[in-house]
Symmetry: C2
Subunit: 151 residues, 2 copies
Amino acid sequence: MSFMNFSKTTEYAFRILSYMAMDERKLYISRDIHKDLQIPFRYLRKQLTSLSKSELIHSVQGKNGGYMISKPLENISLLDIMDAVGDNSLESSCFFGFQTCALKEKCTMHTKWALVLKSIKDVLTTTSLSELKESGPHSFISNNNLLFTKN
Amino acid sequence: MSFMNFSKTTEYAFRILSYMAMDERKLYISRDIHKDLQIPFRYLRKQLTSLSKSELIHSVQGKNGGYMISKPLENISLLDIMDAVGDNSLESSCFFGFQTCALKEKCTMHTKWALVLKSIKDVLTTTSLSELKESGPHSFISNNNLLFTKN
DNA sequence: CATAAATGACACCTCGGGGTATTATTAAGC
DNA sequence: GCTTAATAATACCCCGAGGTGTCATTTATG
Ligand code: SF4
Ligand code: SF4
């Protein structure tokens, strides 16, 4: 009985990217990301290979391999991250969940909700990884991961 | 790959209540609501009996029975409707989906996202059924239900 | 070239939101 | 009081997001 939050996958992507933004030229390995971000290991692996097919990060295979951010941090917005995982849930849609609506004059919620979505989208487009870099959750996680629920 | 929208159950509740707001003293029967709102019949029935255990609507059993709104329209906000279906997804929570966070100084998204949630919540608390009454989706649906996707 | 340390591919499982089927109960009205 | 038209209760089913298990592939390094 809930859901007006992001999907786990999207949340995880936010964590991963903001974590890797700590050092944009470092090659991160999945094991470390897992330890610090509390994402189930194999699911994280799956998501990392999936993400490395996007423009945001790329992978290096073989020994000493890992993942690295591909673009300047200021060019990666939170919305870009949502795009990368195929989350398009911010596309404006009917507040009531109708697929089809032929109301000539739109109902009250139509404009109200469009505005809400736009404001959310604005926040997510204007927030880039460079902005998160200093204040991101990593700063806490990396040296205090014991405090998180161990799943 | 999505989900920043409401759950089906919440959307349905929005539809149902804004529909019943058309005439606040009319006793609506599930069959008619189903016809007009394109909600799967048996699921609608389940949700109606569930809703009638809330403060928002009550049911009348037996022949000629049905459902009616219980409170003045201006006293029912969209957030009240979410409450009625147990959707508390607007409770402010960690943007990154962490259950525990001991950051002394909160990260950038913490405040940003709290503001977003607050603005959403504001819209939903200040919008009451009385405001939706005239412009609600019903005004279209009730006489144009052919235009909706069948099923 | 053998080994180890990393990612990639692929098949499978789980669980809860959403949806269905059936039977019981209530009450109007002839 | 029998029938009929409504809701109530209960149990079950389905599917996809999220999560797991196993094996294959790539590459550094001695
Ligand atoms: S006008 Fe109202 S019912 Fe129609 S699509 Fe917009 S929000 Fe939905
Ligand atoms: S400070 Fe950041 S990481 Fe911590 S709870 Fe708030 S949003 Fe989440």
